[in-house]
Each structure stands twice: as structure tokens, then as C-alpha cells.
């Protein structure tokens, strides 16, 4: 698919990075403020989608990108499952047990495993929403051919 005009491209260059950083901020503070893995992941995916829409991409590159993103998604999910299962192996032998030290309420590094879940759920959500977008575009490109 084609890219857009120079104005859109320039604006995208300026703000895409900020959107990405904001997504990371929302994910990192997921256990302190409203938001968290899902909301932050959607924001990060938004940055990627914006870049793809503005700059365009040819068909083969899209397919390659989709495969890579699928891998990221699967790996992130399996890490979430592993963190959950780690509670079964450590501590009280119960799944999703919060076995790490809790820290002080309000600190960035606190609440045990929750930030870890947030980070990997954020990766997973960003990857999967980007996959949905990519596969819909790939469908469209295929049907145009």
C-alpha cells in the first residue's frame, strides 16, 4: 500500500515516538494509576499502525512483518504463562501467586509480580493488535492483486 503526503509523514515522524513513549509510561505505571498492560499495549500498537499507514509498505514486507509480530506475541504470552506457573513452583504452590516482595505502596518497583505481568501483557496486546491490523491489510492487498 502507498504512503501519504509529506505533511502527514513529517507529523508522524514527530509524534510517533512520543505516542510510543506514552504507551510505555502507561504500562510501567499500570499498578499505580489507571491503565496498565492492555491500555498501554493498545497505545503502542497505535504508534506502529500510524507509521505503517503514513509511510506505506509493500506486500512482501507486510507478510514478513506479520510473521515477526506473531512470534513476539506468542513469546510474550508464553512468558505470562510462565510467570503465572512460577507461582506454582515457588512459594505457596499456587498459580498466579504473588511470590515477589511487595515493596512500598506508590513506588515504581513494587507490588511483586504485577509490573511483570503488565509489561508482558502490554507486549502481547501491542503485538496482537498490530497483527490484526496487518492481516486485514494483507487481505486487502491480496484481493487487489
Amino acid at each position: 500500500m502507498e504512503g501519504m503526503t509529506i505533511i502527514v509523514k513529517k507529523t508522524t515522524q514527530l509524534i510517533a515516538g512520543m505516542i510510543f513513549m506514552y504507551g510505555i509510561y502507561v504500562i510501567a505505571h499500570g499498578h499505580l494509576t489507571p491503565g496498565g498492560g492492555f491500555a498501554g499495549g493498545v497505545i503502542i500498537a497505535g504508534a506502529f499502525i500510524l507509521i505503517t499507514l503514513a509511510f506505506g509498505s509493500d506486500f512482501f514486507k507486510l507478510v514478513k512483518e506479520e510473521m515477526g509480530t506473531t512470534m513476539v506475541e506468542s513469546i510474550a504470552t508464553i512468558i505470562v504463562v510462565l510467570i503465572g506457573s512460577a507461582g506454582f513452583l515457588l512459594g505457596t504452590k499456587i498459580f498466579f501467586n504473588n511470590y515477589l516482595p511487595k515493596g512500598i505502596v506508590g513506588d515504581l518497583v513494587s507490588a511483586g509480580t504485577l509490573p511483570l505481568y503488565n509489561i508482558f501483557v502490554g507486549m502481547e496486546v501491542a503485538a496482537s493488535i498490530f497483527i490484526i491490523f496487518l492481516s486485514l491489510i494483507i487481505f486487502k492487498e491480496e484481493s487487489l492483486k
Binding site: L32, T33, P34, F38, V105, G106, S135, L136, S143
Partner: protein, 112 residues
């Protein structure tokens, strides 16, 4: 109370759309309307007048918080709804490529 009734009316609007529309994409949109009326209903369930977001602040402990559980439920349901809608759109695009139309009356291979 009026808000709850409006929620239900929105749900019925979505249902009406899903039943009467003939365009595949419009059916998908109607389903989304139903979905979001349900989410709105859940969000209203947890609302308490004068409540604040349920983030515990050790400095001032005694405040009225809204019920956090429906919010968690809505977040989960939104994720599920996203997956359903995405899958539905993928199937619609595939159907469009096979039939060349969005009209549901043209698709009647399966009868009987």
C-alpha cells in the same frame, strides 16, 4: 435508574440492527452497539455518587471509592469484544472476496 433503562434501549437498538440489516458490515456494527451497551451497563453498576477512582492512597485512607470489580470485568469484556470483532471483520473481508458483495441475501449456499 433512567441510565440503566437507556442502556437496555441501546441494547435493543443493536439487536434490531443485527436482525434487520442486510449489509454484513452493518451487522457487525450493530453487534458492536450491543456490546458497548453491555459495557456501559457494567460501568454504571459500579458507580457510586461522589466516589473516586479506586486507587488506595495511604495519605488519606477514608474516602468513598467506586466499585472496582465491574471496571475489571468491563476491561476483560472489552478485550474479548475486540477479538470477536476482529475475527468477524476478517470473515467479512473473506466473504466479500468470495461473493463480491456485502449483501447477505446473496449468500445462501447453506439451506435446509
Amino acid at each position: 435508574m433512567i441510565a440503566y433503562i437507556l442502556c437496555f434501549i441501546l441494547f435493543l437498538v443493536g439487536l434490531y440492527g443485527a436482525v434487520t440489516q442486510r449489509n454484513l458490515v452493518k451487522i457487525a456494527i450493530s453487534l458492536s452497539v450491543m456490546e458497548f451497551s453491555t459495557f456501559l451497563f457494567f460501568a454504571l453498576l459500579g458507580y457510586i455518587d461522589g466516589g473516586v477512582a479506586p486507587i488506595v492512597n495511604p495519605a488519606e485512607p477514608a474516602r468513598i471509592y467506586v466499585d472496582p470489580l465491574p471496571q475489571a470485568l468491563v476491561l476483560t469484556a472489552i478485550v474479548i469484544g475486540l477479538a470477536t470483532t476482529a475475527l468477524l471483520m476478517a470473515v467479512i473481508i473473506r466473504l466479500y472476496r468470495k461473493y463480491g458483495t456485502f449483501d447477505i441475501r446473496e449468500m445462501k449456499n447453506l439451506r435446509g
